[in-house]
Structure formats: structure tokens, C-alpha cells
């Protein structure tokens, strides 16, 4: 009996969900308001997914970038411990700096130090414009990061002024870039992408499935059909992964 009473939870790998949020001046008003509202509302859902999930523990990290970059917490947090502080818009779009900063934290000495290991993270980039800094050097650095290579990467383009080409470079292919045209669609897609990315590791796969990113993209595409003002890209291409982790 005592052995049964002493049972502890199975060890779970951590899956960190990163939000990279453009807080440049152009996001001011409804857009930033919608982002704040959507993320605050999705946290309890992520908490529930994590609490019921014997495969993975879900943690959340958020990086805002405008003229500079800023992590909302200095480490990934359980959704239940993550108190969302509304981010404010103002300044430029330092996407390159954000990529470089993310790359630093995507390491065992950075944010990926869970004792029982991690799953590849999921990274959601939200932007409504184009980078104003030298994004290429930051992005190239990030693209060389093995955690990033294996990650589920989804970009959400807010409105038509978003530089979709840059977002495509970030997410690896144009299919992983979703465009939203109104505030309601923005809120819905944040929820769908965050929830889908968090659940994907505990689902049964079907024959012909390729990567987790492809599975997330497929599910989000299905969902987008029912969201007024959201659209998926039509072009088809598939990202390739390199698993050189030695």
C-alpha cells in the first residue's frame, strides 16, 4: 500500500511556447489591445492542457520587440504562474535583435534547462510591419540554432503591411504564415495556434504525417476556414530539418 501512496508524477518533458510580439508603434491601438486580450485568455487554456497532459508540461515565454527587446519574464513559466502584463506599442521593429535574443535563450544554458529534457519548442511570431533593423544577421544566427531548426514555427501577419516574405523566412515556409485582417480574427488565430501547438505532441499521428509543424499548419488551416478575416497561404513547400545535435 505504501508504495502506491508514494507515487509521484511521471517525469514530463517541457514544451515551451514562445510568443514573439511586435510592439512597434504601428501596433498601437486595437492591434496591441487584441494581442494582450488574446494571450491573457489563452493562458488558462494552456494551463488546462498542461495539467491534464502526461506527455508534456507546457511553459510559456514571451518576448516583445520594438526599438529594443524585452522578455516578460526572465524564464519560461507555467501558464498558471504567467501573469500577463499588457504590452504597449511604440518605437521601431527590431526583428533582427529579437531573433538574436531568442537564439541566445534557445540553449541549455538559456531557457531550455528542464531536468527531464524538453520537446522542440513552438514559436509564434506576431508582426504587422517589416523589420527596421538588420534582421538578416539576427535571423541567420537563429536559423543556425538547432532548437530553432526543430521547432514548430508559425508566423501571424497582422494586416497587409506585414512583411510576409520576412515572416516566411522566419517560419521556414509560406504555409506557416497566416494573415489576419481584423481584430477578432487576430484573437482567434492566437488561440488556435497556441492551443494546437501545445496539443500536437500528445496526439496520435496518421499515416503520411510529416512533421509536427506540418500537422500544426494543417490543423490551423482547417480552423482558419471558419475564421472571418483570416487566411492561410496557398503555396506549398515543406521545411527540412537537420538534427545535428551532437
Amino acid at each position: 500500500m505504501s508504495l502506491l501512496d508514494e507515487q509521484v508524477s511521471v517525469p514530463r518533458r517541457t514544451m515551451t511556447l514562445f510568443f514573439l510580439i511586435d510592439t512597434s508603434g504601428s501596433m498601437e491601438g486595437n492591434k496591441i489591445g487584441a494581442v494582450n486580450d488574446a494571450v491573457a485568455n489563452v493562458l488558462p487554456m494552456l494551463d488546462e492542457i498542461s495539467a491534464e497532459n502526461p506527455d508534456a508540461e507546457i511553459k510559456v515565454a514571451a518576448l516583445e520587440f520594438s526599438s529594443g527587446v524585452n522578455w516578460l519574464y526572465s524564464e519560461p513559466k507555467l501558464a498558471s504562474d504567467f501573469v500577463w502584463q499588457d504590452v504597449k506599442a511604440g518605437g521601431l521593429t527590431s526583428l533582427g535583435a529579437a531573433c538574436a535574443e531568442l537564439s541566445t535563450k534557445l540553449s541549455r544554458s538559456g531557457y531550455m534547462q528542464s531536468a527531464s529534457g524538453s520537446f522542440a519548442p513552438a514559436i509564434i511570431l506576431l508582426s504587422d510591419g517589416g523589420p527596421t533593423d538588420d534582421y538578416e544577421s539576427g535571423l541567420n544566427k537563429l536559423k543556425g540554432n538547432n532548437w530553432f531548426k526543430a521547432a514548430i514555427k508559425i508566423a501571424i501577419a497582422i494586416g497587409d503591411d506585414a512583411d510576409k516574405d520576412v515572416l516566411k523566412q522566419f517560419a521556414g515556409n509560406s504555409e506557416a504564415v497566416f494573415t489576419v485582417h481584423n481584430i477578432d480574427a487576430l484573437k482567434q488565430i492566437i488561440r488556435v495556434v497556441a492551443v494546437t501547438s501545445s496539443q500536437i505532441g500528445s496526439k496520435s499521428s496518421t499515416a503520411g504525417d510529416t512533421t509536427k509543424q506540418d500537422q500544426v499548419v494543417e490543423e490551423v488551416k482547417d480552423a482558419v476556414e471558419n475564421i472571418q478575416g483570416a487566411e492561410a497561404a496557398t503555396a506549398v513547400d515543406s521545411s527540412s530539418y537537420d538534427d545535428d545535435w551532437d
Binding site: M1, S2, L3, L4, D5, E6, Q7, V8, S9, V10, P11, R13, A51, E52, N53, P54, D55, R108, M112, A115, S116, G117, S118, F119, A120, N146, W147, A150, Q199, G201, S202, K203, S204, S205, T206, A207, G208, D209, T211, K212, D222, A223, E225, N226, Y241, D243, W245
Partner: protein, 423 residues
């Protein structure tokens, strides 16, 4: 995407309709709703994206054939294709059953070893019956079971991928539960079911994953490529005697480290066999469900109540209680074929595999040093004494546990009391 709302009516192929009351939960494939069917509450699984016609026909066929055993929350009615999709109706899960995942997360735990063994027995029996009907389950994982922590009773859900053995449902299974040959791209069948079954049983007993040890923990980032390696081509059992590179890690795999040495040797030996490299690579050599049942019955025969502290304990060569450490007299036995059931005061005896105790050992009211066996079943036992007298033991009556008495239980199983000498 075709969600339903409260009050929606969905018609059934058998006639009539169900009315949506509320959402109970959602998963990858669809949503489960609480529905009303002619005043009776049922569950409707509704697919968000309607699977193809072959899937629909298979469901129809499975509904016609009926459940392989009472353990299955089997599809009972099929809906017509309408409102952009379709679904099937099944029984509701009772309140006292919890997802196996809750046991893994230590939110729920078995109240007794008897309950744990009952759950294992019920799961094995369910898959034995399923395979006997010619099906394979295809997607066996931790999400398919609801268990009552007190009794160990099990309900098996998500039966919509059940296909005739050899046919593809298109599902591959869930990472960490898929057989190595499926991870490598094979088609799920009853042999891969048996692999997943052994993983589930291991996790049920030891509350850790059989392939997750030092080697897997050392991998910082579990990518899809590593998943294929650690659960497929390079899977190594954590207690593989031939390869100690993947032993459980103190502080991380606490449950299995505590339980592995404490639980019966027969269980250890079986898992070492079933997760050996040889069996991983040769699916058709994996243990069949009836042998799992036999193993579990054999282990249950060694589970007794300690007469000193009253806790449950397994008795092996050493007859000391796992809990209080005191010696237990394990010499009184009931032989049933090759089985040797240990009889101590307070121990329940399971003659068959239905998880319902058939007898209980009680102390003689006038002489506590003597044991009696009480008939808990609904039918008479016939006993033959060493001198040849025939006695009938009716339900709720008792008989002395005396060496040499032969018993026929409910006209089926034959047993005999023996007393082993202390070694």
C-alpha cells in the same frame, strides 16, 4: 470544421435522433457531446472533419457486430452524414472512472494492489476479446482507458479506429506507445497492439515509461528524429540486462526505481523478456493476452493480507510483509492446476479471471490459529475430504482449510488444499 450547439438534433441511421445538450470534451479528431436519446443520456463523438467513407462503413460494421466485451465503450449508433460531418453514439463514462493519464500524473492512484491487478486483468481481457473477434485496435495509448481507482475496473474508449486485423485505418498511433516497427513506418496490427499493451501494463504497474531512462533523459531536445530513434530503431528497455546504458535515473524515474525490486519477480522477468531486443524486432513472438492473464492471475495468487498489519503484500521466497516486515505463514495453499494460491487470514481468492473474488480466507471463530475459506460466489462448491466424504459448501458458508480436501468450485475449477513445509 462542423461544431454542434445545444439543441441541435442529429439523426441516426437506425432511425430517431439525438439532441445535443453540452460539450463534454474535445480531442484531436473531434468533440464529445452529452446528448439525449429518447430520454436516455448518451455520449456523441462528432468528427470535426468527417473521415472518408471507408471509415464510416467500418464504424457501421463494428456497431452491427457489437462490443467484444463489456470493457469497451463501443459505438452503439451511427449518425447520418449531416451538418457537414458525422459521428457515433456510445454510453456515457460513469463519474468514478478516471483517465489513465491522471494515474500517471499521480492525481489519482490505485487504492490497492488488488485494484491495480484487476485493472491489468481487465485490460488484457479486453484486448484478448478484441483480437479474438478478428480486430486490431491500432492506436493503443494512455488516452484510451478510464479506470476506477477503488475497484480497478476499466473502460476502453476511442474504439473508432478498430479495424479487422490486417486492414489500415490510416492511424499510426501515438509516439511513445507505438511499436518500433510502426515507428519505422509499418502498418498497425494485433502484434503492434501487443507491444502497446505491454507498454501500458508496464506504466500501470511501475508508473514510468519502459524506454525512458538515462539515455533518453540525456537528450536535451526530443525532436521527431530522436523519437524515431529512442522509441524505434534504438529502443532499449530501462532494465535490459544485456545493455545497461538506459537505466532509470534517481530523482527522475522514482516510481519504477522503488517498485521494480518490490514487485514480484515474475513480473520483472516477463517485462525483461517482452522488451528484449529479440521481441522488439520480432513482433509475432510477443506475449499473447491469455498468457498475460495467466501471469496476472499467478501474481494475484501471491498477493495476501498481512495477518499482522492488515496491509496487502506480495509473498515470494521470503515470507516477510513488504510493509511491516514481519514473517507471514504462507504454508497454507490452494492448488488449482499449476497455480498455488497463498491463503492467509483476510486474503481474497480469485478462481477465474473476472476480477470478482470467489472466496475469502477467515479465521476460525473459536480457534484463530485455524483458517476457514468462505464461499463468496453465487454457486455451491463440492468438497471431498481425505476420507472420501462429500460436502457441499453453499454461498456464504465456510469450510476448513485442511490439507487434502479437494474442492470443485462452481462445477468448473478443481482445487486442493495443501500445506507446504517451511523451507
Amino acid at each position: 470544421m462542423a461544431e454542434l450547439k445545444k439543441g441541435d438534433k442529429v439523426s441516426l441511421t437506425s432511425g430517431g435522433y439525438v439532441t445535443i445538450e453540452k460539450e463534454l470534451g474535445r480531442g484531436g479528431q473531434g468533440i464529445v457531446y452529452l446528448v439525449d436519446l429518447n430520454g436516455e443520456k448518451k455520449a456523441l463523438k462528432w468528427y470535426l472533419n468527417a473521415p472518408d467513407d471507408k471509415f464510416y462503413k467500418n464504424l457501421e460494421h463494428n456497431i452491427m457486430s457489437g462490443a467484444p466485451s463489456a470493457a469497451f465503450l463501443w459505438p452503439e449508433y451511427l449518425t447520418r452524414k449531416e451538418k457537414g460531418s458525422y459521428g457515433y453514439v456510445m454510453k456515457l463514462r460513469p463519474q468514478n472512472y478516471f483517465e489513465f493519464g491522471n494515474f500517471l500524473l499521480a492525481k489519482k492512484s490505485f487504492r490497492s494492489y488488488s485494484a491495480m491487478l484487476a485493472a491489468a486483468m481487465k485490460i488484457c481481457n479486453g484486448f484478448m476479446m478484441l483480437h479474438r473477434c478478428g480486430y486490431s485496435y491500432q492506436d493503443l495509448n494512455d488516452g484510451n482507458f478510464f479506470i476506477d481507482p477503488t475497484t480497478g475496473d476499466v473502460l476502453i474508449c476511442d474504439n473508432d479506429n478498430v479495424m479487422p486485423q490486417g486492414e489500415k485505418s490510416g492511424i499510426m498511433g501515438k509516439a511513445r506507445y507505438m511499436a518500433p516497427e510502426i515507428v519505422a513506418g509499418g502498418v498497425p496490427d494485433k502484434y503492434s497492439d501487443r507491444f502497446s499493451l505491454s507498454v501500458i501494463l508496464f506504466m500501470l504497474f511501475y508508473a514510468n515509461h519502459p524506454f525512458e531512462g538515462a539515455k533518453v533523459v540525456a537528450c536535451p531536445c526530443m525532436t521527431e528524429t530522436f523519437e524515431k530513434k529512442f522509441y524505434g530503431t534504438e529502443a532499449i528497455f530501462i532494465y535490459d540486462p544485456a545493455d545497461k546504458s538506459n537505466l532509470p535515473v534517481r530523482g527522475i524515474h522514482q516510481n519504477v526505481i522503488r517498485r521494480w525490486p518490490a514487485f514480484p519477480a515474475k513480473l520483472r522477468e516477463t517485462f525483461i523478456q517482452e522488451f528484449s531486443q529479440d521481441k522488439l524486432k520480432n513482433p509475432n513472438t510477443r506475449m499473447i493476452e491469455s498468457l498475460w492473464e495467466k501471469l496476472i492471475a499467478g501474481i494475484r495468487d501471491t498477493l495476501v493480507r498481512c495477518p499482522h498489519c492488515g496491509e496487502e503484500t506480495f509473498i515470494e521466497e521470503s515470507s516477510k510483509c513488504m510493509d511491516c516486515g514481519k514473517d507471514i505463514d504462507s504454508t497454507h495453499r490452494l492448488k488449482i492446476g499449476t497455480r498455488s494460491v497463498i491463503l492467509t487470514k483476510g486474503t481474497k481468492v480469485y478462481i477465474d479471471n473476472d476480477n470478482i473474488p470467489d472466496a475469502e480466507v477467515v479465521a476460525h471463530p473459536n480457534d484463530p490459529s485455524k483458517l476457514l475459506l468462505k464461499n463468496l460466489s453465487n454457486s455451491n462448491w463440492t468438497a471431498e475430504t481425505p476420507s472420501g466424504k462429500i460436502k457441499v459448501v453453499e454461498p456464504n458458508n465456510m469450510m476448513p482449510v485442511n490439507p487434502g480436501i479437494k474442492i470443485t468450485f462452481s462445477n468448473t475449477h478443481k482445487g486442493e488444499f495443501i500445506q507446504e513445509t517451511n523451507n
